[in-house]
Amino acid sequence: MSRPAKGIPEPRRRHLGLAAAAGSDTARGTRHGDGRDAFALAWADAVVGTSYVSMSRTEVEEHLRGLTDRLAEALFTEPFTADAARQVGAAMVGAHFTGTETLNRTIALVADELPLRLGLDRSTPWRLSALQGALAAGYAEALRQRTLDEQEAISQAVFVARDQAEQALRVSEARFRAVFAEAAIGMGIADMDGNILDANASLLDMFGYSLEELTRRNVRDFMHAEDAASVWRLYDELVSGQRDHFRVEKRFERSDGEVIWTHLTASLIRDDEGRPTYQVAMIEDVTDRHLLQDRLRYQALHDPLTGLPNRALFLERLAEAFDSAAEEDRIGLCYLDLDGFKVINDSLGHDVGDQLLVAVGQRLDACVSAPGRLVARIGGDEFIILMERSSSTRDVVAIADHVLAALEAPIRVREHELSISASIGLVERSIVGTTPADVMRDADITLYWAKADGKAKWALFDPERNAREVARFTLSTTMPAAIERGEFYLDYQPLVRLCDGQVVGAEALVRWHHPEFGLLAPDRFIGLAEETGQIVPLGRWVLRQACHQARLWQDRFGSRAPFISVNLAVRQSRDPGLVADVAKILADTGVEATRLQLELTESAIMGTADEPLDALRALSAMGVRIAIDDFGTGYSNLAYLRHLPVHELKIAGSFVEGLRASASDGSHVVDARIVGTLVSLAHALGLGVTAEGVETADQARRLDDIGCDSGQGWYYARPGPPERIDHILSDVR
């Protein structure tokens, strides 16, 4: 019978057909191996693909061939027993023929093909049924067992794996627990309401609480009055989930009330869904470091002698005052320097000096101390008082008066009763438009003024005075270059013979056309030039210019040419090179020495030193005329006058002023007598007399009446360019 097994796919039919055909060639009921081969082949065909077995096709056939043998043995063994079929069923499961379709096809094949292939006696169909039953039972039993075994095995594997994982987790947890417990840094855990759940030994130690005490508390209990506002803002952001961590420096109060400084790092722990679950704090005690820093900072910012803030702290506070100031705020500085401290230091020793400074520092601190005020020792014997938000200049003046009064009482240092005073420079102004550097500089300048004005005084900063001094300073520094750049020029004022009105001479007057300050008269810069020594080169330049002009006049007007009169400053008159300079200039310009007159002030001539007189005598010997300028304003030693190499007196304009007819108070009578006496004196000594400051015809007439030789003043001409002299002389011709 070649009926295909039910359910066997179409491609397999061919093999079954072939097998059936082969089987039909063999005698029915024989035990010939070919029949078994054919069945095994058919069996393999039927089950391949219904289960996964780790065999090649050939191996499957071989395997099934073995099972076929066992089925055949069972079928024909007497007495009949189906046990072998049971084992075949189990063996199939053992080879992993575990697919249900495999059993289905096997049972069908046993029914349909086995009798045919093995020549089974049709008279014993019950054996076949028993065989099928046993095979199915054996298969089912083995499959059940295998399933249970595999289920057990995989469950065991899960248990083992989970156990290992949990073991690993326990190890890991133990490790983390140890890290938590043993960490040198304090760690604490709290819930999102701030209830403290756990803390490690370091934290308990740091705070001085037991775990029980700590876990009864809330994070917010650890607010400290001096916490920066940002600390708790950050905390609120953390517990509201807006922020995952923050780091701050924070103070805590220990259980014993002691304050500790810490670095606090707070972190948010979220669950798998990202919800905030815990907060963790890591706290490092930095109190020692903080105190050290405090001390170092204190040391860096305080004067070790007096304990007062030092310059660095003062400048820091000054800068802060500016940074934090409102627009209408004002600021005041009292810059104070002890008078004569150096003398005390030098004569009584540094130790006494130091003790004195300590005492002064204490007095200053006592009389100034108030919020917004700071006394600092700036260096040496200099102190400074900062007044933040002063209301007016009166505030600093009051402080300065208070300080000066406070220092009046003698200070006792050891056996010495030391009376001291101080000079104070005051600056008080609106903060707008100024800077810390400005007020410091101005206070320094003002202190200098106070010193210069006399001791035990305060001086208030005066912007105009400062501006003048700044200008003076500017002039002094720019003068050398100004000479080179030709910023100076000379004006000339005629000297007129009173008896006939002839121009006999011209006084050269130096002017500075400053690029910034405009036209400057000599009083703005001559004194300055004397201070700086610039007068010597400037005077040399003036002399050369004037002589050059004199030469021009000499060439043009011959014997009618005016002599030239040039002012000689004190410092110039003492310059060792003066005589040589004059000689060289006269030689260079070709001007006769008799056409040069040098004007000196009384003080320049009456000075004690002999050297200037030697120079004047030498000049006089050369033929240069010497005139005393502004005669009558100093304290001339009249007896001495006769020994001086002087040719001319120029009477100061103040006397000439009194000769004006309009003067009604009678003073003109006195002045007239003085002038008359001076003229008589001069003439007695063989000197000529020139009156300065002649402004009216009346004055000129009176001077002439008195016997004065020459006059100079606005009545004749103001100082002007040399061409003006030219015109006068030309007109006269």
Partner: protein, 263 residues
């Protein structure tokens, strides 16, 4: 198709015990009972989309068997089976009983089961590791004892690399094992593909997080290896035992297979 690539953390959390395991789903398709309801549910769910999955699984497993035999025939006596899965039906050491085998899988259950099944033997070891961590695998005591890297070995990556995304650089992973292997070593590789298949397989693969690669991409994984005949082919086409074993539509098994030899 075992061992969820390297996507698991070092220690699975409690939740992961409740997830289907690729290794157990694979076992289910092979007709085994090393699986739980959760695995079977996932397997049946996938079957609804891709009814041929059991055949694919079997074809893959059959390729492993043929390839290991092939390697043995060529003299290979040491195997590094990465992503080995549950050693239930025809594990490497059963196919090549005379060889040393190190099984590597990242699934702790697979590793526990494998160790239990294999018992104490001095030719077989099981290592829990991620394929991407080649340094860890190659320097492990298991490999150190059983595998002589100076002699040819076979590296098995059967149904493994599609668990690695491109960002995992699968070619680089393969290369690290290749560089450590002696010349004459073999690479046995099978890999899921969408070539010749459109939906629903691609959709299913996406759901599973599989990286399906083309023929060219799979071929490139053999860089540094001489591809042995017949090259990279569909699973059932690779050196079938008999011509009948080749499926009439081999592409429906949606996997490529190949064996290379390091020059």
């Amino acid at each position: 198709m075992t061992g969820m690539g390297g996507r698991q953390p070092v220690e699975p959390s409690a939740l992961e015990w409740d997830r289907p395991s690729a290794a157990r789903v694979y076992d289910y398709y092979l007709g085994g009972s090393h699986n739980f309801a959760i695995d079977r549910a996932a397997a049946e769910e996938a079957l609804r989309a891709v009814p041929d999955l059991p055949q694919m699984t079997r074809a893959n497993r059959a390729f492993l068997r043929r390839a290991v035999r092939y390697c043995v025939d060529r003299g290979i006596r040491q195997f590094l089976d990465i992503g080995s899965g549950l050693p239930t039906v025809g594990p490497v050491h059963e196919i090549a009983p005379e060889a040393n085998v190190v099984y590597v899988d990242s699934d702790p259950v697979v590793v526990a089961h494998s160790r239990a099944m294999l018992g104490a033997t001095d030719r077989i070891a099981v290592l829990r590791a991620d394929v991407r961590d080649a340094g860890h695998v190659l320097s492990s005591p298991e490999v150190g004892v059983l595998i002589d890297l100076d002699r040819p070995l076979a590296v098995l990556m059967v149904g493994l690399l599609h668990f690695l995304s491109d960002s995992d650089d699968p070619a680089g992973v393969v290369a690290r094992y290749r560089d450590a292997a002696a010349s004459g070593s073999h690479l046995v590789l099978s890999h899921a593909t969408a070539d010749g298949f459109a939906e629903p397989w691609a959709t299913t693969a996406r759901v599973w997080g599989l990286a399906l690669r083309s023929h060219a991409e799979v071929t490139r994984l053999f860089a540094g290896y001489e591809l042995l005949s017949p090259g990279v082919v569909h699973l059932s086409e690779w050196r079938p035992d008999t011509p009948q074993d080749v499926d009439k539509r081999p592409e429906r098994y949606t996997g490529y297979a190949g064996v290379g030899r390091k020059v």
